[in-house]
């Protein structure tokens, strides 16, 4: 069976605009969360959100490419530029070598709202502008990046709610492993705009600890009161090992397992069985035992029921092993469609520099989280293999296992 390696990574997130800044934030347990007064003016229950600066691409990217990018597309473009540079892939390579894109995304609310507001005002569709349709489709990231980077391989968007980015990596791994592609740009992007979050806020799923924004996201902590929405984009370049080796590409890590499942129950309430099956499947696929996993990057978003059920599922599979666990969402907030991809990058950065980033704000365990070895302060630790969980609405679950480059 063909082996699948990561040859490049790129990130644009609330805790850093590139790998170096993000690595620093992870190590120091820095939060990217703040308060957005505009959300309160709009009637949001919670004004908490990840904070990110929108990149200015004028002068860096041709106008024809720029106008089709919504905010999530801009984040994904920046992340992908970094990932390709690190993988030592340039546009000439992409033109001559079939490369695909599988990117996670599950909304384009800001673009849709803006274009329809324009239509209401002008009463003429031709006055909406040429970029709107390409910003508004859910496949906006894959469609735009495939044109910008002249990609010739597989090309579509993966919409799997908050597991989108993880499934995108899992599918990329699957396509390469089974000989269908040699290299694929995988990742996840997430708009951070309030447009995309109003209806979610209405479910009372967000933390309202507004007086302490950086303490609001507290996965697994007994006093958690909900998630904090966030966003950005994360890109990994997946390549078939032999072709990467022949080209002399940097080999950062190897994807060795992908597990997935569906809960088949409630649309928003997670359960224990579904995530457990995803974890077990990923372990089976990798051929590993639970004891061989050195670090678990939990999905845990800081919601009462989600974290509880994940803690039970992890304890069921990793019973008594005391495997270090942390949820980087404690710092980033919930990056949703992006999260599965960014968390593979966060974990890989930890693996590269031999540390476990803290699950900040984890102060008091509840009954389930007390059974896990949750790391709330940075520790130095050699990580050879990590596992990353991502779960989403509709009961979609995804688990990725990655091993340090040992070639």
């Amino acid at each position: 069976m063909r082996r699948v390696v990561i040859t490049g990574m790129g990130i644009y997130s609330t805790i850093g605009k590139n790998l170096s800044e993000v690595r620093d934030s992870l190590y120091h347990g820095r939060s990217g969360i703040g308060l957005d007064p505009e959300r309160k003016n709009m009637g949001f229950r919670s004004g908490l959100t990840g904070r990110i600066e929108r990149p200015d691409l004028k002068g860096k990217l041709h106008r024809r490419f720029r106008v089709g990018l919504g905010e999530e597309g801009e984040y994904a473009y920046i992340a992908t530029i970094e990932a390709l540079a690190n993988a030592r892939i340039d546009i000439n390579f992409l033109e001559k070598n079939e490369t695909g894109i599988l990117y996670g995304n599950d909304s384009t609310a800001r673009s849709v709202v803006n274009s329809f507001d324009m239509l209401r005002e002008k009463k003429d569709t031709t006055l909406i502008g040429s970029g709107s349709i390409f910003q508004s489709m859910n496949s906006t990231i894959s469609m735009n990046l495939s044109v910008i980077f002249k990609l010739k391989g597989i090309n579509f968007t993966v919409s799997g709610a908050c597991a989108s980015g993880s499934h995108a990596i899992g599918l990329g791994y699957f396509f390469i492993k089974h000989g269908l592609q040699n290299s694929i740009i995988c990742g996840g992007g997430q708009e951070i705009s309030l447009h995309s979050m109003g209806s979610f806020d209405g479910l009372s799923a967000f933390s309202i600890r507004e007086n302490e924004p950086t303490k609001a996201s507290r996965p697994f902590d007994k006093e958690r009161d909900g998630l904090v929405p966030s966003g950005g984009a994360a890109t990994v370049i997946l390549v078939e090992y032999e072709s990467a080796r022949r080209r002399g590409a940097p080999i950062i890590a190897e994807v060795i397992g992908y597990g997935f499942s569906s809960n088949g129950e409630h649309i928003s309430q997670p359960n224990i069985e579904g995530p457990s099956r995803s974890l077990e499947m990923a372990l089976r696929d990798s051929g590993l035992k639970a004891r061989e996993i050195d670090y678990i990057n939990a999905h845990a978003t800081s919601t009462p029921i989600g974290d509880l059920n994940e803690a039970i599922a992890i304890d069921r599979i990793f019973n008594g092993l005391k495997t270090p666990v942390s949820s980087t969402k404690s710092m980033t907030g919930h990056e949703m469609w992006m999260g599965g991809a960014s968390e593979v990058i966060y974990s890989t950065l930890m693996m590269q520099d031999s540390f476990v980033a803290p699950n900040i704000n984890f102060e008091t365990p509840d009954e389930a989280s007390a059974k896990l070895n949750i790391i709330n302060e940075t520790i130095q630790k050699k990580i050879n293999i990590f596992l990353s969980n991502s779960f989403g609405f509709g009961g979609t679950n995804s688990t990725i296992i990655v091993r340090k480059n040992c070639f």
């Binding site: 002008k122 003429d124 031709t126 006055l127 502008g129």
Partner: protein, 89 residues
Amino acid sequence: MMLLNVREMQREKMIKTINDFLIDEIEIEKNRIKPTALLKKDLGIDSLDFVDVAVVIEKNFGLKIKGEEMTNVKTLQDFYDFIYHRIRG
């Protein structure tokens, strides 16, 4: 005579507005902006760019223009003339 001057001033202002837009928004290099330049071949304005041109024309001149009305508009000079005649009704 005075009327002619006013018209000429209006025309020059219109041309400047169009040129500024082509340079700033459509990002065409300034030295390519010539009356004889072909919109598609020389300036690279494609059908998608034209949608944005129409948006700016509406914004600046209050005119709604459609692609099908412009089948004879080939050069930048043709475009100036087309807009000028539409403004003047």
